[in-house]
Symmetry: C2
Subunit: 318 residues, 2 copies
């Protein structure tokens, strides 16, 4: 069996640990198609937060406390850059992490596409799945906000890390999406998939930028594989992160039903065949989408693998 | 009084501490024209070893034990790059140092010349002198060697750091020197100088690459200021570094007389009016050059400042 997972970073990485565990049990292959909308160049380094979260988490090197970056990280460079007055100072650039960015940036500057660079980095981390960026093109999520009374677009990282989303926020723009094409291997993976899972990632800034790559979205929506999503909202609150702030901006109800409806049914050019919600949201109903309620708290690998098993069953391939 | 010093890195930085001390006593301004032949781009970072040695030393942040780089340095990035298998692994890329390289590389990539970048970095370090790279152009010292029976040209850093100069070595080539022009401010500093000092740096790979910038050399040789050199050889041995390996390659005698003759007299289109040698080399004689013997061991700031006072006296401006 071939499983494709559309995923963001931290929450998605945790979900992928369960996908990998279940896939090992059933002998399935897993390909993660990872959001790159958070990617940003800072201090000359190309930083890919979601790819790194997935890579470090599956490679056993993520910091479980902080939720992002490397375990045992140090912060010499961040401190030094601040002493030089080098902007931005609000971004958490760890020393270990910086080495990853240096290797990536050097390869990108040498002309390798991000997909090839990701594969090269994964030779060290051995994530046990295939990791593909959604696109090798430049695609960045920017956020239209009011700062000090002035309306402007800032990079998603600035909105997220510097302002914690706490700004009057009008919309999210996927800069470069019009011209972006799926990264090498993405269309093949989707076309050959037996099932496509949508991780319980932020629908607005993790999943939407992936689907903003038109050919990628078409491959999923028009493709042969059933698509099952896992709700990132449990009992009206995001599993993690700031999905609520993002959904508010879009005027979407912060509920399993709200997000399911945002994704929509494939019967009407939407995304979903199935929608897995938490037991506490058993009443959630999305027109045209098969809904099932199971425990959705990713407390450990086994609990998460059980969610995946339920998702595959809902897709009719379990 | 305006003092210009032609200088390399570590030994030159130590000399400059004495120059600065003496200049403060007599109210003189100091401009260091620093070798860039050692500069190299590694892991996407533009590294300027001599500029950094001077900047860190005069900024009070150099490691006195190791002789180069930052005091209290850590090595997380170097270790991580090695774990990625990222070449080269033989270069000592410290974490603190990397922040300097990141700021520099970001500014260079944004289009600032190295002289402007150096001035910006010095805002933090306040070296107390004006620091100028010899050139804003690309100029790199490469070394023609035999490696595993094959003749090839390698970067000076590879020869120096990786092989410790321990290869059959044929010659040094200053790549880019033909097209290089003096960095912003260099010609003005030399033209307006009351005296030009040649630091006791490696004549072959620190001073020669500076003078390989033709307009710079002409400004010194044809300029109004007297030129006094300080011997980097004491009693037949280099004060520090591997000047002996370099001089051997050129067939130059490893002595105060040998280096003095290599620099030559200004009367015959050479560099020197005066040549300061160590007491132990009191017999050194370079035709056409006034020679004086004083203690040349840079044991501390005062001893070094006394050397500088002697050099200015020899130049007739002390």
């Amino acid at each position: 069996m071939r499983i494709v997972v559309l995923t963001g970073g931290i929450g998605g990485a945790r979900f992928l640990v369960g996908v990998r565990a279940h896939a090992r049990r059933i002998g399935a292959e897993v390909t993660a198609v990872v959001n790159v909308g958070d990617d940003v160049r800072m201090h000359g380094l190309q930083i890919c937060p979601d790819l790194d979260s997935v890579m470090y988490t599956l490679g056993g090197a993520a910091d479980p406390e902080r939720g992002w970056g490397r375990v045992g990280e140090s912060w010499v460079i961040k401190d030094e850059l601040a002493k030089y007055g080098a902007e931005p100072t609000w971004f958490g650039l760890g020393d270990k992490d910086t080495a990853t960015h240096l290797v990536r940036t050097t390869m990108l500057n040498a002309g390798y596409p991000l997909s090839a660079v990701t594969a090269a980095l994964c030779e060290r981390w051995q994530p046990g799945i295939t990791m593909l960026p959604a696109t090798d093109s430049r695609l960045e999520t920017h956020v239209v906000v009011d700062v000090d009374g002035e309306r402007k677009a800032i990079h998603f990282q600035e909105w997220w890390v510097r302002y914690r989303g706490d700004l009057p926020t009008h919309r999210f723009v996927f800069v470069g999406a019009d011209a972006a094409t799926p990264a090498a291997g993405v269309l093949e993976a989707i076309t050959n998939a037996d099932v496509v899972l949508v991780a319980p990632s932020n629908p607005v800034v993790s999943i939407a930028p992936i689907l903003a790559v038109q050919q990628l979205k078409e491959a999923v929506v028009d493709g042969p594989a059933p698509v099952v999503g896992v709700s990132p909202i449990i009992a009206g609150s995001p599993v993690r992160g700031m999905a609520d702030r993002c959904l508010e901006t879009l005027g979407v109800e912060i509920s399993a039903t709200g997000v399911g409806a945002l994704y929509g049914t494939r019967a009407e050019n939407g995304l979903l065949d199935g929608w897995l919600v938490d037991e506490s949201d058993a009443g959630a109903a999305v027109p045209g989408v098969k809904t099932k309620a199971v425990p959705l708290w990713m407390t450990d690998e086994d609990a998460t693998a059980a969610m995946v098993a339920a998702a595959l069953e809902l897709a009719g391939v379990g």
